[in-house]
Symmetry: C5
C-alpha cells in the first residue's frame, strides 16, 4: 500500500458502463515524511475521502477486493483515511 | 489508473486469435497538468476513443474486467474519455 | 519478494470494513547488504513483526495468499521475519 | 502492452515441467519511434515470431490468457507480430 | 521473465506457515549480456538452483503457477536453469 494526498477529481461521462457511480480522485503519492514525491495516481474512492486528506491506497488486483470495486476494471483504490503514522516512535503525521 | 492521450494506432494481422476485433491504440501518459511524460503504452480501446482525446487507462488484471477484454490477454485498457479534471479547485483540463 | 526493515506504524479509523484488525506497518526496503534504499511500502503484518526487525515482503495478488489477507484489499504483506542471509557464502545479516 | 523487437532465444533443459514446449525469446523493448530503449524481457512465443520482427507483448497475469500459456508460470507473452503503427497520421513503422 | 544469477540464501524461522519447505534464494538480475544490473529479488526455488547458476524467474501471480508455489504467498519464482542464450545468432552465455 502507498500513502497519498487527495488533491483533485477526474470527471468522465463516456466510459465503461461498469464504472458508473465510482468517484475518481487524483492522489499525489507521499514519501514517509508526508512530502509529495511528484508521482500521482487516479484512484477509485470508496471511503468518502475529501480534498487534502491523506489516504492509504492499494494497486493492482487488490484494488478490486472492496465492495465497491469487486469485478470492476479499477487498478487503484483508496482503502482508508490515515489518522497518523509514526517512524521510530516519532509521529510523522497526525490528521 | 493513469491519464493518457491517444496519439496513434497499432496494426497487426498475425496475432493470438482471441485478440480478433480489439483496436490497439498508442497512448502517451500524462502528468497531472496534462503534459506528456515521455512514457507510452499500447492500450485496448473499448470506448471508441479517437486521436487527441485524453483517456483514463487501467493496467494489469484490471484491464480484463471490461466486456470487451474479459479473459483476453490484454494488460492495458482505455476505461473512459476524460471530460475534465481539477486540482485544488482549479481546472487543469476541459475537453 | 523483497527485504525490508519495519520502522513504523500507520493508523486509520475510517477505512474499508474488510480491513478491520489488520496492522499496517511502514517498511523501508533494503538492498542486498541490508542498507536502506530510500523506498518504503506500507505492509500488512501477519507474523507479529516488531520495530527494527528485518522482514520478507510479498507484493501484488500474492499478498492475498495468507490466512489473514485472503480476499482482502491488501497489496503488500509481511511473510516472514528474516533470521539471516548470505551471499557467496558470506553472511550479510544475522538477527 | 509494449512494443518490442525479437533479438534472441533463451534455452533451458532443467525447468518447471509445465514449461515444456514453450519457446522463450529475448525481446528488446522499443520506444514509440521503434528505437530500442535498452530494456528487455524474456517472453513466451505463441505466434511464431522470428528474429528481427517487431511484436506486441503483454505482461503479468494477462500473459496467461492465451491457449499456450493458460495456467502456466509465464509472466510475459508475445501476442502479435506488428505490421505497422502510426502516430498523428504519420507511419512510424511498416513491416 | 527475467534473467538472474543465484548468489545467496535467505533464512527465516518465524514465517507464514504456508511457506514451510520453500527455499528462498537471493537472485541478482542480469542484463542481456549476462552482467549484473545492481537489482536483486528474493525468489522461491522449485528447480534446485545452486549458487552461481543463471536462472529464469517469473514475477507476480505467474509465480504461483508451479506445483510448489500454488496458492502460496510467493511473488517470484525460479522457473528454469538457463543453459544458454543468443542474440542475433551470437551466443551471450553458455553454462
Amino acid at each position: 500500500m502507498n500513502l497519498g494526498r487527495v488533491v483533485g477529481t477526474v470527471v468522465s461521462t463516456r466510459k465503461e458502463p461498469v464504472l458508473e457511480g465510482i468517484r475518481f480522485l487524483l492522489v499525489r503519492l507521499l514519501d514517509e515524511q508526508g512530502k509529495e514525491t511528484g508521482a500521482f495516481v487516479v484512484s477509485a474512492d470508496g471511503v468518502g475521502a475529501g480534498p487534502g486528506e491523506i489516504v492509504l491506497t492499494a494497486a493492482g488486483s487488490s484494488a478490486r477486493q472492496t465492495a465497491m470495486t469487486k469485478d470492476r476494471p479499477v487498478d487503484n483504490v483508496i482503502l482508508a483515511i490515515v489518522d497518523e503514522w509514526e517512524i521510530g516512535g516519532e509521529t510523522q503525521y497526525v490528521k
